[in-house]
Symmetry: C2
Subunit: 161 residues, 2 copies
DNA sequence: CCTGGATTGTTCGATGTCGAACAATACGGC
DNA sequence: GCCGTATTGTTCGACATCGAACAATCCAGG
């Protein structure tokens, strides 16, 4: 009966907080919040590109895709992407172009500046990854990546079904 | 030069989106968004407890902790936790009690109902985890958990220093 | 003691994401 | 060709989280 507050040192508390019941989902969340926040803070002088680097990288690898497809790729909503693309277009990183054969949709493309910014930020991103996975072996990192891929796949397959 | 939009099927696009440049940080984010969203949607009829299950579990394991300590444990800000605890207290899951010896801080405790709700939701959470990690072996899940722990540790050590 | 700096909870305005709606456009079955 | 249904981008109001400020309280050094 823990009717009395425990007297952990702060360190011990943080390390063991929720440990007993901690699930993959929970640790996933914690790690993501901390990693994402740190990355954004480190690059707070580069506009909003760091936050949307994933999106920008996808646009570079798959230029001309419609917004709806991009939204699905980064697991955000169609409606959220509107504002995001407005911002990125406002910063001159991205362009909406008409798509021949479908007057509903826009194709999204990187500008030259956008392409350059993505290059720079991907380098930063790799440095950040190194910090994030410090103390893990190549094999462990690889295994974690494969596990994450599988989780992403599992959740995508479950979506809307 | 990919000046022409590619003609992936939607499946292929999703699977390979950003694959070339994908970092641990990015996949972490994607997996977390999808997993968290699915968990919340599945339990949309249980108030706001699902979203804050991690917090509630920590309160159960470490009753009587001050808000600031809890905020750090779940990687949210002190100011954010105020609203959250207001809500959880409003739903009757949590109580603020005065702390003897420090009139600034509150100790946070689960109510009986809160404790019951946490039990139920932790069971749901384990089921959700099973879905999330489907297709991964016990060893792979264990390795992923250890990797996540390490990443959390790394980011915490880097914080503010 | 007592005074200056830290810590705690709180408020408040700013920003990001969401879901539900909508108009414009595409498309399949007839 | 025509019509019902899907899809696309968009707007709008709701909500979650943030950072900066603040008052109350604690505490360490003189």
């Amino acid at each position: 009966m823990a009717q009395e507050a425990e007297d952990d040192g702060a360190q011990t508390f943080l390390l063991t907080a929720g440990e007993a019941e901690a699930t993959v989902g929970y640790k996933l969340r914690l790690a993501q919040i901390l990693a994402f926040r740190a990355f954004e803070e480190k690059l707070s002088d580069r506009g909003r590109a760091p936050r949307y680097l994933g999106l920008l990288a996808i646009i570079r690898n798959h230029p001309g895709q419609p917004q709806s497809r991009l939204a699905e790729a980064v697991a955000l909503r169609r409606s959220s992407l509107v504002t995001i693309l407005d911002i990125l277009a406002g910063e001159g990183l991205v362009e909406r172009r008409p798509v021949r054969g479908d007057r509903r949709s826009n194709g999204i493309w990187l500008t030259k500046m956008g392409s350059r910014v993505v290059d720079e930020l991907l380098a930063e991103s790799r440095r950040h990854d190194a910090m994030l996975t410090e103390g893990l072996s190549q094999e462990e990192v690889g295994a974690a990546l494969r596990a994450l891929d599988r989780m992403i796949l599992n959740m995508r397959n479950a979506e809307g079904g």
